[in-house]
Amino acid sequence: MCWGVPAIVVSVIDDTTAEVDFGDGMPKRVVLGISAQEVLPGAAVLVHAGVIVSRLSYEQIEEVIKYIEELAAIAGEEPPQDLIARLRSLFRSAAGGGLG
């Protein structure tokens, strides 16, 4: 029941319905479970049993990097700079500059 599938909003039909693409190019009609202002065409969202339950915001990658740096500090180690640089570049290329 906790399976959620990431998708991109293709169009917003009305206050309660939207069409999303799960990555196969086929628009699928889903219901807005969350506030409509969160769901705009082009946004990355999480769909659960036909309902949008969250908007995905990948800007938060910096938070993950912060966690890694803090964990390194508490473990008494230098932060793994190459890994952090790789994470940043992975996100930059995957997000393609248009973060949802």
């Binding site: 029941m1 906790c2 399976w3 959620g4 990431p6 998708a7 991109i8 309660t16 693409d21 799960f22 990555g23 009609r29 219901v31 807005l32 479970g33 969350i34 506030s35 409509a36 969160e38 990355a44 999480l46 659960h48 049993a49 036909g50 309902v51 339950v53 969250s54 908007r55 995905l56 915001s57 990948y58 938060q60 938070e63 993950v64 966690y67 890694i68 803090e70 964990l71 390194a72 508490i74 473990a75 008494g76 180690e77 793994p80 890994l83 790789r86 994470l87 992975l90 996100f91 290329s93 995957a94 997000a95 393609g96 248009g98 973060l99 949802g100």
Partner: protein, 401 residues
């Protein structure tokens, strides 16, 4: 494909980060031992069935240092759906009312037979009217098309509730369709299982909880504050990729080292502290909170959602006079010999059950935990957790000893 859909892979296929986190987890546990003055032994509960799937599927238990055990909690809605409710739905299916159900609850077994059937699948084979759907909206479309009296079996946790609420509030349900709400709320179950597990010496104590990420998209991380406060343990809301789970374990250990017991969000790309207020308002408008039975466990106060009277024309209980079970009527509703209730509460492992992979298998499930992809027994059986693979290899004579 939109490149953003590939971002999840950073949390899924990232051996470099996984190894780094494994090393942090080991170091933090060692430091905890130094702080406590003895070797640290503790358990962390992963509440959600999908977290258990991630942990088992990706073999995360093998990456945990000695002394740190991950135990599964009650986060599988199919496992905890009472036999009573299922039997009532099966009775309706034999009266010609079409029962729409998800695929996993279709195979869920009851304790007592209804017209000789022990599941909705068997009911259908014996002439009952049962259809499998993937969401309430499929049921709405089908019920509109055929116009027959029909019921949607509304199983699930807080994640499905906004969808059900929306169907009721927006008037999407056709006149012939009603909802049998079996929605269960997760915080009361977490309270109950933690209080049971903490009373189980000499086992190592549960010192942290990995809280369900998708439930928290709706409820917000704030729903877990009472858990952190009451049990004085860290709670980390985590995503469902292996890196998310390992990060959550590391963050729990960090809090323990720092002497904190707070709610933290690891899954920040999807979860906020307050959750979605529109979804919460819709749930409150359509449903009222009620005491509800959990399979094998019993009644938990304020742990279920009942359709409000205002929408009673679409409430299957009112429409078909389905009586709610009373507290004194509840009796243990797992089949004889089945340890599902103990597994759900984290008191036993699937491999402790004498029926596991003998009478009870994923293709012929006997107990409720073997049915759904989120049931701990089904997950362990599929991916060979708890030494299952080693036993099989040994039985086949492929391994010495």
């Amino acid at each position: 494909m939109d490149p953003r859909l590939l971002v999840e892979a950073v949390f899924r296929e990232n051996p470099q980060l996984a190894l780094q986190l494994r090393s942090y987890i080991a170091k933090l546990l060692e430091k905890l031992g130094e702080k406590w003055g003895s070797r640290a032994r503790l358990k962390i509960m992963d509440f959600c069935g999908t977290h258990e799937w991630t942990i088992t599927h990706y073999g995360l238990r093998t990456l945990m240092p000695k002394g740190l055990e991950l135990v599964a909690g009650p986060g599988c809605p199919v496992c905890v759906t009472p036999s009573w409710e299922l039997e009532e739905a099966m009775k309706l299916s034999f009266k010609g009312v079409t029962v729409y159900t998800y695929g996993d609850s279709y195979r869920l077994r009851t304790v007592s037979p209804v017209n000789g059937a022990y599941s909705l699948a068997e009911a259908r084979a014996l002439g009952g009217s049962v259809k499998v759907v993937t969401s309430i909206y499929d049921a709405i479309a089908d019920a509109r098309k055929y116009g027959k009296e029909a019921v949607f079996l509304g199983i699930g946790f807080e994640t499905v509730a906004p969808g059900y609420a929306h169907a009721l509030l927006a008037g999407l349900m056709p006149e012939n369709l009603s909802l049998m709400s079996l929605v269960r709320l997760t915080p009361p179950a977490m309270f109950y299982s933690l209080s049971i597990l903490r009373e189980k010496p000499p086992e190592p104590p549960v010192m942290g909880v990995i809280a369900p990420g998708h439930v928290s998209t709706i409820t917000g991380a704030k729903a877990w504050v009472p858990v952190a406060e009451a049990f004085e343990i860290p709670v980390v809301v985590a995503g469902f990729e292996p890196i998310d789970v390992m990060m959550a374990v590391a963050l729990i250990l960090r809090q323990l080292l720092q002497g904190r017991a707070e709610v933290e969000i690891e899954y920040k790309r999807a979860v906020s502290f307050d959750g979605d207020l529109r979804a919460q308002a819709a749930i409150h408008k359509a449903f009222e909170v009620s005491d509800a039975a959990w399979r094998g466990i019993g009644f938990l106060p304020r742990s279920g959602l009942r359709v409000r009277e205002k929408y009673s024309e679409h409430d299957a209980r009112t429409r078909y006079g389905i009586r709610e079970m009373r507290v004194e009527e509840w009796k243990k509703d797992t089949p004889p010999g089945c340890k599902c209730a103990e597994v759900v509460l984290g008191k036993a492992k699937p491999t402790d059950c004498p029926l596991f992979l003998r009478k009870c298998t994923p293709s012929t499930p006997y107990g409720p935990c073997m049915v759904s992809m989120e049931g701990t027994c089904a997950i362990w059986a599929r991916f060979g957790e708890g030494g299952v693979t080693e036993d099989m290899v040994r039985e086949l004579g492929l391994l010495e000893g």
